[in-house]
Symmetry: C2
Subunit: 351 residues, 2 copies
Amino acid sequence: MRKIRLSIIGFGTVGRWLAEAIERRRSWLETEHGVAVSVVSVATRRDGFIHRDAGLEIPTLLELAAAGRPFADHSGVHRWQSALDGLAKTESDVLAEASNTNPREPEPALSHIRQALGRGTHVITSSKGACAAAALDLVALARQQSVQFRMESTVMSGTPVLSTLREGLAGTRVVAVRGILNGTANCILTLMAEGREYATALAEAQAKGYAEPDPTDDVEGHDVVAKVRILVAAAFGHALTPDQVLRRGITEMTLDTVQQAMRGGRRIKLVATVRPWPAGQSTGVGFLPLEARVEPLALPLTDPLFRVDGVMNALTVQTDTVREVTIIGPGAGPEQAGQGMFADLAAVAQA
Amino acid sequence: MRKIRLSIIGFGTVGRWLAEAIERRRSWLETEHGVAVSVVSVATRRDGFIHRDAGLEIPTLLELAAAGRPFADHSGVHRWQSALDGLAKTESDVLAEASNTNPREPEPALSHIRQALGRGTHVITSSKGACAAAALDLVALARQQSVQFRMESTVMSGTPVLSTLREGLAGTRVVAVRGILNGTANCILTLMAEGREYATALAEAQAKGYAEPDPTDDVEGHDVVAKVRILVAAAFGHALTPDQVLRRGITEMTLDTVQQAMRGGRRIKLVATVRPWPAGQSTGVGFLPLEARVEPLALPLTDPLFRVDGVMNALTVQTDTVREVTIIGPGAGPEQAGQGMFADLAAVAQA
């Protein structure tokens, strides 16, 4: 039985779900991959970085976290105030970086990831901001260090998209991608299609927990821009700045516009598009070969994204050999993001 | 650079596409996976099994195959009349088994696969019949030998489905699957929805090359039964006999029935369903915990399979953590099946 020592930075809903899944799927990990995963470090902003070479007790960690109590010192446990210091002074095989939920802010996740990769540790992460800002650099650093860097849950959470591009469609050349990549915006647009005004739909989504108290990143398209940058890095090997992605949100969408589209047999969706520049057109900022856009579009009934409603997300991938593959699934939620990280962990265990 | 010696059994459209892709994607295989793939053996029913330790020339093989000329003897090439003999007497790292297109007949593919796995050779295959009959045995044999056994292209060809179940959704428990898994039947039903009678639709599909001269396996559901057996092995770890899958084909479908469904806002599709037995119901043949069915169903507009038309296929997977994932993509064609085998080869190269 191989041993995998795991450090988890960020012990919110996603990090906890991952820890709980490791506990629950212990026998699956053993029989399927021949590995025993032990959580040796956990870091939170409040408690700092705690580490125990012999492994921490997951049920105890989950209990303390649920009760909002600090991780108690006990035999063999070391503590550092900063996660970076803790990472530098301890040994682990895989870092699960789940500290950062802001799509526009790479830190502190990016520093944690760089440090771990630099020390030859595999990294799996749900931190969108870090991946949006530096996915290509991190992939290159991981390759240089002969370790894996995986970020499945940053795009469509637990619905497998990045592994489909990388492994399922291995060897194909991606020509274009198009998707509905934000559950909050899609939920609001679905409620508007049922007759609500924007403000009512937003309030309802907030009441149901589908929208944050400050919904800016979701409704203004910043979250989708981060995902587009990650997809472009993963599928095309290009790094995009936020300015290279055209962005229009849904805050100015009116019920009238939504209903007008519906009378024409269309549905308005917040759509991300990455495609080669149309022939003969000037090629935009930075002479990139790709056009990347996030904007509300009125989709016809024949579009595979037409019926993707509520918190469901979808991605359509066109490649040279497999003409068009569409993946539809839930795009958010802690158990979804945790599942994406778990799949990344399994991929590391398999290699 | 690691070397991978590949044997290809079956050099029809799929085997040739794979060989050509290996040639075309040589630098991708080198940079992405650090491997150099060399085709050391090729076997066809007509020419027998030819092998050259130093590798065969792919362009020459493709030229001879395209011209229908026998593989010429040249320096260092050995030949056996039977592929089994050739496999027994030569060394390779991976067998690509593409000899068998019949979903109801496991041989000769099954013997080739067993022999290769038994000798510690990884196997990738597009041979549905062998996988339908013995997937679980082959997975167990591969595990015992510490090699990989992969069969991506047997279900939905190059659209990644089995790798999504195995790697993308790693660790989840599959609750149910449902899909449109035969391009020929779906094409005929799509033409009927456009107003053709069954016989006209079949003739049109045959003229376009979407249906075989003898379409029995596709229109009677045998092909989908084979795929259901493969999915049940892969997703649930159960072996099903053909008798344990309820099967109804589309040969008795009338234009009237199709149009009646459309007037009710529904579309008739040949649907494969695998799910737990409904509570309180007797549990069918063999006391299996699962019900498996292949039959025409009238799907409502809200069904994610409703708009999957023509030669497109789709699979919906329900799991314990990722509620529902749907994958839509092309389900047939030599370049699709070849792509599925290539993805399997890349997965072997990565591990």
